[in-house]
Symmetry: C2
Subunit: 249 residues, 2 copies
Amino acid sequence: MSGRLAILGLGPGDPALRTPQVDAALQRASDLVGYGPYLDRVGGARAVRHGSDNGEEIERARLALRLAHEGRAVVVVSSGDAGVFAMASAVFEAIEHGDPAWRDLDVEVMPGVSAMLAAAARLGAPLGHDFCVLSLSDNLKPWELVLRRLRAAAQAGFALALYNPHSRARPWQLDAAFALLREVLSDTVPVAFATAVSRAEEVLAITTLGEARGAQADMRTLVLIGTEATRTIPRDGARPWLYAPRSQG
Amino acid sequence: MSGRLAILGLGPGDPALRTPQVDAALQRASDLVGYGPYLDRVGGARAVRHGSDNGEEIERARLALRLAHEGRAVVVVSSGDAGVFAMASAVFEAIEHGDPAWRDLDVEVMPGVSAMLAAAARLGAPLGHDFCVLSLSDNLKPWELVLRRLRAAAQAGFALALYNPHSRARPWQLDAAFALLREVLSDTVPVAFATAVSRAEEVLAITTLGEARGAQADMRTLVLIGTEATRTIPRDGARPWLYAPRSQG
């Protein structure tokens, strides 16, 4: 008797941005597995909670798979969308290198509103045309590769959504990324820092590439970088809107 | 007395993937503006429906802004997420070039589950690491720019989510894109065609870049292209899972 494993994203924070599919899975679950602060955001569910520290993704994935294999109804909880720099990849990595019986489990990934989509919506439509999504973390890839991807994306005219822009161990990374981008793009290109979007502590800051500073980001920040085509609409007494025009080139 | 304008995404199709925020806005609306088939997906709302053909985005945006300026509670309806190749950019474009009073309207973009996130979830976690999102349409940008962006993204090791892969007027485009990508990537790189995800007529097809053919896509298809790092997990009697490993380079 095989159990079930749902890998889901809670969205950016506000429960009004969480899908009914996700809510139903949380209600059905016997076990919730995830990073502690994410589990704290799940109210009501009567499941056993298996919280863990950040950075223990593969151990967390294996625990979830073992529980599902025992016949439990397991939910792996991510923030945002589970498939974007979150737990879905870790679970499939654990499956590929783990117990062959895990391939027979009923595994379902449930999509969510990702941090980048929530941030873009609060700012206007800065991701309304071609864009790239990039993690700035060099925990699992060489920093040179991060820089190469940044340069390639900016040179080709993609807007950028940067995940993991801030690392306590390497606080210089985001400034290094801005410095590289200033070699490719005009100083006037819009840059937005979207922190804790949709939560009580939400902070949105809009600046330009010339003025952007790494210290404006923390671990809850999504950094959006426009293109030469990105437009800024000023407003009286309100944050400007940013958008990517539909026509490019 | 100024009205309100919400620009929202219904998600990929299944109402279980639509956020409560969006449902509440649809219930509150006095007027719904959108592409006819998307409005048909909205049940229950008692609003006046202003359906239009596809391709009339700016006219549709202006109508919505005029109605909001008259004090109506207007909702502009997109599929997926409103900010990804959808109506949000068109509305801000109309605002920038339209009646200055439109800048004082209460405009809110409400994010949704985008087609790419829904497609990725059904396939595993193919967008679990760095990726680029690109419209293959050359209605509003030169085809040479599409090709340049495709090449830059593939060379830098980004996975790709391709919107608008099929055009009735230019059915050769997707095959031309695959031909270009085969110059940069191995024939074994996984390619997935995700059509009408989460709807009754959903079709998922997984192949390789060497075998991929443009005729496998129609106007409802999202094409996902992996990288040299993308892994395929075979399963007995079931579709394989695709995922992007967390470690790259």
